[in-house]
């Protein structure tokens, strides 16, 4: 068994390699003999068997008309092959944009533009992958000229994800053949962590109280940019609903209980700093999800915020492009 699965895998790898060489990545691909595959479908094989049966029937009865008809059906098979090839050839597939983004565990419509000079019949589009399940788009009607198809895929893990090969297949031409292509349109999707509401954090309070994040430890090397309000003089017991940014995490970590740092001076126009350390202890992925949520929320409220990560800092700003920048950082974090 092991041998066979091994063989299967090597064959698969070989095939993948061959496919990459034969149909290299390109954001625009025109279908031709080079990248169209064609093979009889199950029905095609059944049909051939049936034609053979007719031939035997005709031969056994020495009935020329039945033999003639079986030849006719056999040549219809050949004609159908050409037809199904022609149905797809010269169709141009292209990626509308090469940079797409979305949140993990949501569905994203990938826009693919199809350009053609003639009618195309009954074909399906989907991405070939086990990792990213995609839905079939079935185009039943013919179309002319240019059209954009939206192929929904399910996004899973955060990070930069290059989409698998796009399959365009058609059984058109009497269903005797499966005619397909498998092209890599060089599309990648930036998948942001799934926004998850952090527990015990009230966004409104965070906004009203927190102007002074990440000042709990002076020795922390991440504190490259310090706001003016970095000195606290006492710890007061944490109350439910208070800003997490003010929680004295060190004390929490030491098991001394939950305390809030009390600052002397609070400047209201200081930006919000989002940082991993300000979040409750949890696996990094979880923390990133919380961060994602916070970024989305802050963006919604049109707040000025900055991002502080161990590896990178993004200066406080606001607006959509800023939040995308922040989300990109956390998507690619680590």
């Amino acid at each position: 068994m092991g041998f066979f699965t091994g063989l299967k895998q090597t064959l698969k790898a070989k095939f993948e390699y061959w496919l990459i060489k034969r149909i290299p990545k390109n954001s625009t691909q025109t279908l031709s003999g080079r990248n169209i595959f064609i093979f009889p479908s199950k029905f095609g094989f059944a049909y051939l068997f049936f034609v053979l049966l007719l031939f035997i029937l005709g031969t056994n009865y020495q009935n020329n008309l039945i033999i003639l008809l079986s030849y006719l059906l056999a040549s219809v098979f050949m004609t159908a092959m050409l037809q199904s090839y022609r149905n797809l050839s010269n169709l141009t597939l292209s990626a509308k944009t090469n940079t797409l983004r979305g949140f993990a565990e949501t569905s994203l419509d990938i826009p693919i533009s199809l350009e053609t000079n003639k009618e195309r019949m009954a074909y399906q589009l989907f991405f070939q992958s086990k990792v990213v399940p995609s839905e079939n788009i079935i185009k039943q009607n013919d179309f002319l000229s240019k059209e954009t198809c939206l192929i929904p895929i399910k996004l899973e893990k955060r990070g930069l994800f290059s989409l698998p090969r796009l399959i365009l297949q058609s059984y058109y031409g009497l269903g005797l053949f499966r005619c397909w292509t498998s092209v890599d349109l060089n599309i990648s999707v930036l998948i942001y962590p799934k926004p998850e509401r952090p527990p015990q954090i009230n966004i409104d309070q965070l906004l009203s109280n927190n102007r002074d994040v990440n000042s709990d430890d002076l020795s922390n090397e991440t504190l490259t940019i310090k706001s003016g309000a970095d000195e606290f003089n006492e710890l007061i017991p944490y109350k439910q609903g208070e800003s997490l940014a003010k929680v004295a995490w060190k004390q929490v970590a030491r098991g001394q209980g939950w305390y809030t740092k009390n600052y002397d001076s609070v400047e209201n126009n200081t930006p919000n700093w989002l940082t991993l350390d300000a979040l409750p202890k949890a696996p990094i992925e979880q923390q990133l999800r919380w961060l994602s949520y916070l970024i989305v929320e802050l963006q919604k409220r049109e707040q000025v915020f900055g991002l502080l990560l161990h590896t990178k800092t993004i200066a406080p700003d606001k607006g959509i492009s800023h939040s995308h920048l922040c989300l990109k950082e956390i998507a690619l974090y680590g």
Binding site: T59, N63, I66, L68, L72, A74, S75, F127, E135
Partner: protein
């Protein structure tokens, strides 16, 4: 990869249902496919088809919903019971056809997935093709092709749901027409194979002559306008009067019926070894003129074949042929499809062979129970004429001179009494005359026998062949006369000479059409109709000869002819192909040149520019790229910057980018224009 496809397929199945268009086509094809087989189906199955189509249409128009499982089960069980009950009478082939049609009818109730739909389509085509086992005429084939179009329309409608029937039909016809050439090439060239195994044959009512003849039987045949066989002579055809197509020789008579061989003559257990005709015993055979001809016999579901006397050689590719001892021809197996065979005959109306005593006594036997008056008449004649030939002529002249007449509608004879006909009614057709004549000869001591066959034939000028119809069925007699051998005597000729000279006379034709109640035969008299009929029949003949009867030999011949054609016009074809190759080469060269010329034109422009550039002191080294050249140029003459940059851009575009031919043209003119500008500028500078 496969997993996703499967998932996709599963998803599809869940939502799968037939479109309205497809449902309608399904119903229509079901009805049409079954309709073509209707002649072979039992009445209960026909009722089933009607009910099934009605049911489907009710479902289609949403009068009723899909039946539940119980009803489906009841229907299938009742159908199977009916099938089992009728299987015995139907024979193996027809039962199988019934089963096929029955399952084809029930399948539409069970279409839940694409797979079921495909099965339904294949079953439909199978049902359609099966009907060709029974009928093979050209017009039927055309009908089959038409119905095949609807079958493929059904299949295609699953992929083009919104299409109108007209466009569907158009596309399917296109596909079929495109497929025809390959099919024909395969048909002509693909080796024909002998049957792999024995198939059950169709069980049909026998057509034509039978080997037991009661007086009056042939009259029924005479009313039939059905084709029996067609003949094409290789040389000039013989006279009409010589076209006696011998089929059966009847030697035993029991008083009312003629038989080939009475059943009690031989025991059932001991099958007689088939005796071959011994041609070597016939004297003077080699001096006779011979004719060769091809006969294409329609399926008669009997074994008898047709040949002119004396048949010397016969062969067929489809069957083994038996030359019987009394010089008739029969097939090894029942003729259930169109059968063609080649015969060579030495034309004569007498066969000089010695008569064995056994045969002699058989051909002299008269039944004692019946027709005593004829026996007495025979004896009386014997006394009058000692010479056999004189006796024969005496009887023939009696037929001719007394008021005997030829009619297809004779008065009924009590108990088939030949004497009654001979002495009293004196009205009858070939069988009456032949039968009473033979009997009379036997009574007079001359060995005589009945021969059944066909007489004459209708010549089709367009096709250069003769059609022999069932109405041409004929009976005559053969008497053995010492020194001459078996002599053909046709008593009918004595009564109604035109019957054996030209076929049916006008009055007989009228009588025939009146009796046969065949309304078409009344048209036969009008000229244009007969012209049209001849033409259609000639087409059908060619079809039967070349397509239905296309044999291995034909295949070899056709291929040989094609080869010979090529061999004969070798030099011509060789020059033609050389010319073609030459033209193709020129075409390719021109195309390449054209492509190159565009390249070289751009190169030329660059070269010209470079030579101009030397005038202003810019020299391009070999190692320089065009960009470096441009930079150098600009360094030297900054005022040219824009023009140079544009020129280089255009040059690069033309040289390195994949452009369509139109774009290329545009770019090239653009480049030329730029070059002209530069030249002017440089000239101005100088």
């Amino acid at each position: 990869m496969d997993d996703t496809i499967e998932i996709a397929a599963k998803k599809q199945q869940v939502q799968w249902s037939l479109a309205k268009n497809t449902q309608f086509l399904l119903m229509i094809t079901l009805a049409l496919n079954c309709l073509l087989l209707i002649l072979e189906l039992s009445s209960w199955l026909i009722a089933f088809i009607v009910i099934s189509v009605l049911w489907q249409s009710c479902i289609y128009f949403k009068v009723i919903s899909q039946p539940n499982k119980l009803i489906k089960m009841l229907v299938s069980i009742s159908g199977l019971i009916l099938l089992a009950l009728s299987a015995k009478g139907l024979g193996l082939l027809n039962s199988m056809v019934h089963l096929l049609v029955f399952s084809y009818l029930l399948k539409p109730l069970e279409i839940h997935a694409q797979k079921d739909f495909y099965i339904q389509v294949l079953l439909g085509i199978f049902v359609l093709v099966t009907s060709l086992v029974f009928i093979q005429s050209l017009y039927f084939m055309l009908l089959i092709l038409l119905v095949l179009v609807t079958n493929f329309m059904l299949l295609m409608s699953a992929f083009k749901q919104t299409e109108s029937y007209k466009t569907l039909a158009k596309q399917v016809s296109k596909t079929l027409v495109k497929s025809l050439p390959l099919a024909l090439i395969l048909f002509i060239g693909f080796p024909k194979i002998a049957p792999f195994w024995q198939m059950p044959s169709a069980k049909n009512a026998e057509v034509g002559l039978s080997d037991e003849v009661k007086v009056g039987d042939i009259a029924n045949l005479a009313l039939s306008n059905k084709l029996a066989f067609r003949v094409e002579f290789e040389q000039a055809p013989p006279n009409y009067q010589q076209m006696y197509w011998r089929t059966l020789v009847l030697e035993d008579f029991d008083g009312s019926k003629w038989y080939q061989q009475k059943k009690n003559h031989r025991s059932w257990q001991r099958q007689p070894k088939r005796e071959e005709a011994e041609l070597s015993l016939i004297s003077g055979l080699s001096t006779l003129p011979t004719v060769s001809y091809q006969i294409i016999a329609e399926p008669s579901y009997q074994k008898w074949l047709f040949a002119l006397n004396v048949m010397t050689d016969a062969s067929s590719e489809q069957q083994k042929l038996n030359k019987n001892v009394n010089l008739t021809l029969s097939a090894e197996k029942i003729l259930n499809s169109v059968t063609s065979y080649q015969v060579t005959s030495a034309l004569t109306n007498q066969v000089n062979t010695p008569l064995s005593s056994e045969v002699r006594s058989r051909n002299l036997a008269v039944s004692v129970t019946n027709n005593q008056q004829l026996v007495a008449e025979g004896k009386r004649l014997r006394e009058l004429y000692s010479d056999d030939l004189n006796l024969v002529n005496a009887v023939l002249s009696r037929f001719n001179q007394q008021n005997y007449h030829y009619t297809l509608n004779p008065p009924l004879l009590s108990n088939n009494n030949l004497a009654e006909f001979y002495f009293d009614t004196k009205a009858g057709f070939c069988e009456h005359y032949a039968s009473s004549f033979t009997y009379l000869m036997r009574s007079a001591g001359i060995p005589a026998r009945m021969v059944l066959g066909y007489m004459g034939g209708e010549y089709n000028e367009r096709g250069n062949y003769f059609s022999i119809y069932q109405r041409d069925a004929h009976a005559w007699s053969e008497v053995w006369i010492k020194g001459l051998g078996w002599q053909r005597i046709d008593p009918t000729a004595a009564v109604s000479p035109e019957r054996v000279e030209r076929g049916f006379s006008q009055s007989l034709q009228q009588e025939q059409s009146l009796l046969s109640s065949d309304f078409l035969s009344s048209f036969n008299t009008s000229l244009w109709f007969s012209q049209l009929r001849y033409m259609l029949e000639a087409i059908d003949y060619q079809w039967t000869k070349w397509v239905v009867g296309y044999s291995i030999n034909d295949q070899i011949n056709v291929i040989k002819h094609i080869y010979l054609f090529f061999a004969e016009y070798k030099s011509f074809l060789a020059t033609l192909s050389l010319l073609l190759i030459f033209l193709v080469v020129i075409f390719i060269v021109l195309r390449i040149k054209h492509k190159k010329s565009q390249h070289s034109q751009t190169a030329l422009l660059l070269y010209q520019l470079m030579s101009l550039a030397t005038k202003v002191g810019v020299v391009k080294n070999r190692s320089m790229t065009i960009d470096q050249f441009a930079l150098k140029f600009i360094e030297k003459k900054p005022t040219f910057k824009l023009a140079i940059v544009r020129f280089v851009d255009g040059y690069k575009k033309l040289q390195y980018q994949a452009l369509s031919s139109e774009e290329k043209k545009k770019e090239l003119t653009n480049l030329k224009h730029l070059y002209q500008q530069l030249r002017q500028q440089i000239k101005h500078e100088i």
